[in-house]
Amino acid sequence: MRIRVAHLYPDYLNIYADRGNIAVFARRAALRGHSLEVTAVEPGAALEPWAFDLVYIGGGQDREQALVAPDLAQRGNDLRRAVETGTALLAVCGGYQLLGRGYRGRDGSWMPGAGVFPLETVAGEKRLIGDVLLEADLGDGVSTTVAGFENHAGRTLLDSGATPFGKVLAGHGNDGTSGFEGCRVAAAIGTYLHGPLLPRNPALADWLLARALEHAGGEGDLEPLGDELERLAHAVSAGRARSRGGR
């Protein structure tokens, strides 16, 4: 099947490997006989997100994030509608913050977000930096460990009743104190774990790919791959989080 992917603001939000995450979707889809059609969406471009099976938004430095924030905030209704109708979504780091209701700066300023995730982010004093290991709950009893790296000044506070993406086994997570990381709404996942998140977390990549396939009208059952290198990289990264992750 053809999986339609919208990649939001790749010219602005591309720090650390966001193209790597797309490359993982593409290859893992191709190995199962599917193909990816990626559309880059820059500020001002027309977008009907519900016409896509998967939406990806990455992270950037503060300056680039501020440049795209107004454009993204305007797309809030469209993105919420897409998520409600089953479009899969992965938002990483800055993209995750921007898909909340907004970001409160150190100077009290308020940068409105798209409101896809029920949360707000407040700038903190000290950056939360380090290796992270999560136990992620993907719904329907599916759970997997997710290993990565976080580097954020924002403290993200979930609304009560909101579903976090995972429980922090090692590292800081959303705010350094709650013990939770990220947020999930239907098949939309927001997380601080940046960089090559998907290569070393193939179960997460396949879960998102399966949801995207279902949205495209196909079967969400993906045949397993060998994933020898993926497991090795996951194990090393998980070990790093256990031995030197934040907190």
Partner: protein
């Protein structure tokens, strides 16, 4: 006067105590670390005793090579206090100043983050700022944050001090705005421009108004001749330029060095356009330190690579070509240089994740490894995060049959050499601590000298 004298006395006492400590210990930064801990103010006095003053060199990429070029140019003119071991934090600076008791001139390569503190203390006569690329965001924070720190440091610099900046980097060029004593250097040869900005280029958007820059020519990453169509902010006039550049594969870079003191043809025996930038920074800094054009031409013409930076190592009947990779911009240029020369058929690529490498290995996904993958017949990935490199290459489509994962550096080096035919060359691309370790292995086998014994 009294305060200064007291500081000097206390420094002198420390020198005595510390040199005894060094006798028992060693290491390039141990005495400096102690001094820095006990009395950071002593550095001020140690710097002030240098009769020809201090020059500091900083940049994300190229500061080690630029200072090594400067040492080569200035060596005949000055006795140098030069931190050639790459110990470029405040403690390394302290060690260098402490041990160079008969030097005339301080030549200090300084870490980007440590620069403001070092500048405040050593009151440099010349400051050379080369470039700002995204690098180890887990350690340095975001690019803008470093730029802000540099802005404050430059504002506090005495007016008599010379500021050397790369005009081709918008964030760096801006630092010289309005300064009476400034030299701006850049590349001026649109034939060598890249057709597009590389993936994940930094500083693509105007520092004044946020609109995208248009490039007359982009040379290395975001470095080039930029202009903002929205507000008109553009690359400033160049005081020093490289023109008519002839990149001679993996052997040399030949160019016209255009300066206020005249134009000379330079033959730099190092490949890569990024090294032309390093040579420009070195030439501008040397001019500010009263060097002649002759000295610059000779110094650059006899330069040999700084350790691990395009360094050729003889390994019996085979050769090793070692290129440090440490961040996307630097790695991209190393790869581009190999691509324009000749990509070795066999490569060892090593990724560590210690503090000096950056604990976050995400940056490897921002590197354009693809030209290497198209041409390399065998790749051995190594280092503590070898598996991450293997994934990077596999997801880029590199065949598993040509890829070997050997985390142990010694084994990987041996395997790489075994894959190279007699007389052939092994390409080795390590991150910082992997480079030091691989070089140590080579030292152990008598193939190279330790870096701290290298002559200027």
């Amino acid at each position: 006067m009294g305060v200064r004298l007291a500081t000097e006395t206390s420094a002198a006492r420390l020198v005595g105590r510390l040199s005894r400590a060094v006798g028992r210990g060693g290491g390039t930064t141990l005495p400096g670390k102690l001094l820095w801990k006990v009395d950071p103010g002593a550095i001020d006095a140690l710097a002030a005793r240098l009769p020809a003053g201090v020059a500091v060199v900083s940049a994300t990429n190229g500061k080690t090579t630029t200072s090594a070029m400067l040492a080569r140019i200035l060596g005949p003119r000055y006795r140098l206090a030069w931190n050639n071991s790459g110990a470029n934090l405040a403690s390394g600076v302290a060690s260098t100043l402490l041990s160079a008791t008969d030097a005339d001139l301080g030549l200090l390569e300084v870490d980007e983050f440590a620069l403001p503190e070092v500048m405040r203390r050593v009151r440099p006569r010349v400051v050379s700022l080369g470039n700002l690329f995204r690098d180890q965001l887990d350690r340095y924070g975001e690019l803008e944050h470093i730029a802000d720190r540099w802005r404050v440091a430059v504002a506090a610099l005495p007016h008599a001090s010379m500021l050397v900046v790369n005009a081709d980097d918008p964030l760096v060029a801006e630092l010289a705005e309005g300064r009476p004593q400034a030299l701006r250097f850049g590349v001026d040869d649109p034939r060598l421009a890249r057709p597009t900005l590389q993936h994940a280029a930094d500083s693509k958007y105007c520092i004044r108004c946020g609109g995208p820059y248009v490039y007359v020519a982009a040379y290395v990453g975001h470095l080039g001749d930029y202009r903002c169509p929205a507000c008109g902010h553009a690359r400033p006039e160049l005081d020093l330029a490289a023109r008519s550049i002839d990149l001679q594969a993996l052997d040399a870079s030949v160019f016209d060095l255009v300066t206020p003191a005249g134009t000379v043809r330079v033959r730099l025996p190092l490949p890569g356009l990024y090294n032309v930038y390093n040579a420009l920074a070195a030439a501008a800094t040397a001019l500010a330190l009263d060097a002649s054009l002759d000295e610059i031409v000779t110094g650059l013409g006899t330069f040999t690579a700084a350790f691990g930076r395009f360094e050729r190592i003889d390994a019996g009947d085979r050769r090793i070509l070692m290129l440090l990779i440490k961040n996307p911009a630097g790695a991209n240029e190393a790869i581009r240089t190999l691509e324009e020369g000749r990509v070795p058929a066999t490569l060892v690529i090593a990724l560590n994740d210690r503090i000096a490498d950056g604990r976050d290995v995400s940056w490897i996904w921002d590197v354009d490894f693809e030209p290497l993958l198209e041409q390399a017949e065998r790749i051995v990935v190594s280092g503590e995060r070898a598996a991450e490199l293997a994934l990077r290459f596999t997801y880029a489509g590199y065949p598993a049959s040509q890829l070997e994962v050997i985390p142990d550096l010694r084994e990987a080096l041996d395997r790489g050499l075994a894959l190279v035919p007699t007389g052939g060359e092994l390409g080795v691309l390590p991150t910082y601590t992997a480079m030091l370790e691989l070089r140590q292995i080579a030292v152990g086998r008598g193939l190279v000298r330790p870096f701290w014994e290298e002559a200027p």
